[in-house]
């Protein structure tokens, strides 16, 4: 199917751009670890590991925000987004390709953050990993669309966090819940619900965000 072929080509491009930005990706990965270290010092000595898990989620969410702020930078210079929009491909494919790139980045960030967390605090369990995987889908889906909106605006670095944070609150609730509660099922299901609903919404509305 041409649609999937388009998505593959765009996702490939997205990944290539991320790999080639020699300063951005390592910096962001370093950021997530630095944040964890800061949090270690920010917590009182006798704080529970549960409180620490909350801070792990915050570290990942804020790293995601930084990554999303840069998501459409390459498309902005040279007005590439206009070029892509003018092709016969479905505009939602642009969203999907870019979101897959963001997702890949989040997975790498977590591959570093979670073991680091395990080292600094306590090891994470399977439910936590599952929660992060599910959360990544939602963050990538919603974040990519919002990044496209913010890219057009004047105060883009500030606007993206403002638009994104209210929408990510349910993700944090679901994620932290699944990480600390003895019965993570409900929270994981909720994350799945969030992902499904918002991914469909983002997929359907991206077209309108990039055209007139």
């Amino acid at each position: 199917m041409t649609y999937l072929g388009d998505v593959a080509a765009l996702a490939r491009t997205s990944l290539l751009l991320e790999l080639r930005s020699r300063d951005t990706v390592p910096a962001l990965l370093l950021f997530v670890v630095s944040a964890l270290v800061v949090f270690r010092f920010a917590l009182p000595a006798d704080a529970s590991d549960l409180a620490a898990i909350g801070l792990l989620w915050i570290a990942v969410v804020f790293t995601a925000i930084l990554a999303l702020t840069r998501a459409f930078v390459a498309e902005r210079e040279g007005r590439v987004l206009d070029g892509l929009v003018l092709t016969p491909c479905d505009r939602s494919a642009i969203w999907l390709g870019k979101a897959l790139g963001v997702l890949a980045f989040l997975l790498v960030a977590e591959a570093i953050a979670l073991p680091a967390f395990g080292l600094f605090f306590a090891p994470v369990d399977g439910a936590t990993v599952a929660a992060f995987l599910l959360a990544d889908l939602g963050i990538a889906a919603v974040g990519t669309l919002l990044a496209a909106i913010a890219a057009v605006s004047r105060a883009r670095e500030l606007l993206l966090p403002l638009l994104f944070l209210p929408l990510v609150i349910p993700v944090v609730v679901g994620g932290v819940g699944a990480s600390v509660e003895p019965d993570p099922g409900r929270y994981l299901a909720f994350l799945g619900l969030y992902d499904g609903i918002f991914a469909i919404l983002a997929w359907a509305t991206f077209e309108y965000v990039v055209t007139e």
């Binding site: 072929g5 080509a9 765009l10 751009l17 040279g78 206009d82 092709t87 491909c89 055209t211």
Partner: protein, 194 residues
Amino acid sequence: MIRARGLERRFGETRALAGLDLDVPRGGFLSVAGPNGSGKSTLLALLAGLLAPTRGSLEVDADRAEIGYLAHEGLVYRELTAFENLELYGRLYRVPERRERIGMLLERHGLWDVRHRRVSAFSRGMAQRLALCRTLLHDPRLLLLDEPYSALDDAGARLLDAHLAELAGERTLVVATHDPARLRPLASAELVLA
């Protein structure tokens, strides 16, 4: 092919285009001249479908696959190579025999040897030539070129003259330019914006 009546576009409070009537027949060649800020780029963006008119009507008898748009900014990824850029667009435009066409265009514009170099390492003239390749890649029926001669040296400009001579009559063209005299021999109509 193109028909506009009372075309108007504003950005917030400013009016970039006001009450424009336009007719471009199939195979026509319209040169658009005017000082900076007169709305040439806005007009081309409207014709391409990137902008919607604020008022008036605009009919363009070509869909996305048949329009080739050249903007001042180039529309290519700076951190990808020339080849990668054309590969991507070739795929998205469903260009048949993609590799051959890319090779042919790169060669014709003198970019074959640097095809694996990133655009960020290109000179302004080379980037402009690549942008031209991108525009012509899918052999569009309608070409909208926004100041295609900018940044081109003599060799590049002569190459573009040859291209335009080939395309005139076969394809429909709307070209915005600072130098309408250069296009006069080819143009079937001239529009001057204030």
